[in-house]
Amino acid sequence: MGTDNKRTFGFETRMLHAGHIPDAVVGARAVPIYQTTSYVFNDADYAAQLFELKQYGNIYTRISNPTTAVFEERIASLENGTGAVAVASGMAAQFVTFMTLLAPGDEIVASAQLYGGSVTQLTHTLKKLSVTVRYVDPTQVDNWAKAIAPKTKALYGETVGNPRGSVLDLEALADLAKVHRIPLIVDNTFGTPYLCRPIDWGASIVVHSATKFIGGHGNSIGGVVIDSGTFDYGRFPTIADPSPSYHGLRFYDTFGHYGFLMKVRAETVRDTGACISPMNSFLLLQGLETLSLRMERHVANALAVARFLHNHPRVASVSYAGLPDHPDHERATKYLPKGPGAVFAFDLKPGAGDPREAGRKFIESLQLFSHLANVGDARSLVIHPASTTHQQLSDEELRLGGVSPTMIRLSIGLETLEDLLWDLDQALSAVSI
């Protein structure tokens, strides 16, 4: 067999094949949908071993499922991780990660430029569990360093921030996290593993809203947690200490670099019930199989639209890190050389009237961009964050998050570029200045 037997396959090959071997009996080429709640045990001994985590296998779809396992292994392979756990949504992915890592009294340091829903989860829901969040302007690593306290247990940020397009300095943050022996957790939803792999830059854990570019079709909600397998949890109490819910099992000692994910699955997802449906795992896999092709077109269209808006007389500014005047342009070139995603914001030029009214008029005039609360669809999307996704945030949180009243967020899709430019142009013309 020789050296050919140890080939490391390319990204596109793994996008199509990782995690799915045609089964020995039927040989189905497409990934089968295992729409089942539960699994017949081989025998009583095997059942007992499964419940003790001494065997890897399926018990109940709330914990694991064969269709979902293909999705998990595939995304783990694409992110260069050691494994993954798929869950009900991106919010669930983030939540089960924190629930697994943190204990009451712990703190996390997070970027202030997060998806609005993430901010409310961190600020209000984690607070009920006695976890405190310190937000920082993510652009300077010093801000993160200053916010780290003795009880800080993790750093959290988005590869490409929502909605101003700031890019995390992944390498510097990973170094900082290592010095403090805490994991760097990165939401790579806007990056996707095709544009950026945070684990390659030293991140410990990656989370995704798979609902976005991974699915691409906008028909399924899902999320996933990927572990690098490189973080030493030996002195991290929640993973290393004996678990009262498994007769004192020490997850890190017993499962080594699989310890964190085993705990996410066997304890947190088991107990919170935030499982993904097998049908959604199948649909998200359909998206994953074309990820590279779609992302190439997404970033090409996004850059062209950003340039068009940048030169438009009725646009005040464009926050796309692919443009040379964006403060994080150089960082984007380093971490996302193929392009910094396809979600970005721009500001309408302030006219005589109410700035919020101008935003409303612009959105109402669009014909091709869909006005809705999602990003990463194959279709182009638009939203006015100040009145929708970031509505629950205070003025101070809005300012920290970089959201202004005139700001419009776009998610650029795969339509004919000229049609997108036509639509934006005619809607901008409809806004009175």
């Binding site: 037997n5 995690g19 045609p22 020995a24 292994e73 017993t254 080594g256 670099h257 994910l261």
Partner: protein
């Protein structure tokens, strides 16, 4: 077990070894050959504590059809098998010596493995002793270092996949029907 002649990515996660050392001490062909051909595994340092990693590995492998011979100076019985104080005391033939002891004990374990004509020595994660490994190789034994027997069996046997882990196995071929 196994997936027949399928191509497999060389796993490169979670090891302290360099690429050259991985090629020498973590060869996928050697690993698959050992998992396929060894039937009796002497586990040096197997604990009687049901929640210890070594016990997890032993109970998993026993269910997968391997005979486990515990080696531990404390004696007694583990998983229904008599515990031997050292490798030399084992009366039956041993195919694989699986090491759950610190690296400092590897030289003596390797000497014993050679003496009892074991086919191979395998040290678990983070247990690395190059000198002892070379001695075993020179004596004609196969060597795997800084790897977990259960994880590797789970990778090639497919069960690790159920836990969402990255097996790094890529193939479009149907696996051989399991026995």
């Amino acid at each position: 077990m196994g997936f027949g002649p399928s191509v497999v990515c060389s796993i490169n996660l979670n090891t302290t070894l360099s690429p050259e050392q991985r090629a020498r001490y973590q060869d996928p062909d050697v690993i698959r050959h050992l998992l396929d051909t060894c039937r009796t595994i002497a586990m040096v340092g197997l604990s009687a504590d049901r929640q210890k990693a070594s016990y997890f590995v032993a109970s998993y492998l026993r269910y997968e059809g391997y005979r486990i011979i515990p080696v531990n100076p404390r004696g007694g019985e583990i998983l229904g098998e008599q515990v031997y104080p050292d490798l030399r005391s084992i009366a039956d033939r041993v195919d694989l010596v699986d090491v759950f002891r610190p690296a400092s004990e590897c030289p003596s374990i390797v000497d014993q493995a050679i003496a009892i004509h074991a086919k191979a020595v395998w040290t678990q994660l983070r247990i690395v002793d190059f000198e002892a490994a070379e001695k075993a190789l020179a004596a004609g034994l196969k060597v795997v270092m800084d790897k977990c027997v259960k994880m590797e069996h789970g990778r090639y046997g497919g069960s690790l996949h159920w836990a969402g882990m990255n097996t790094e196995i890529i193939t479009a071929r149907k696996p051989l029907r399991l026995r």
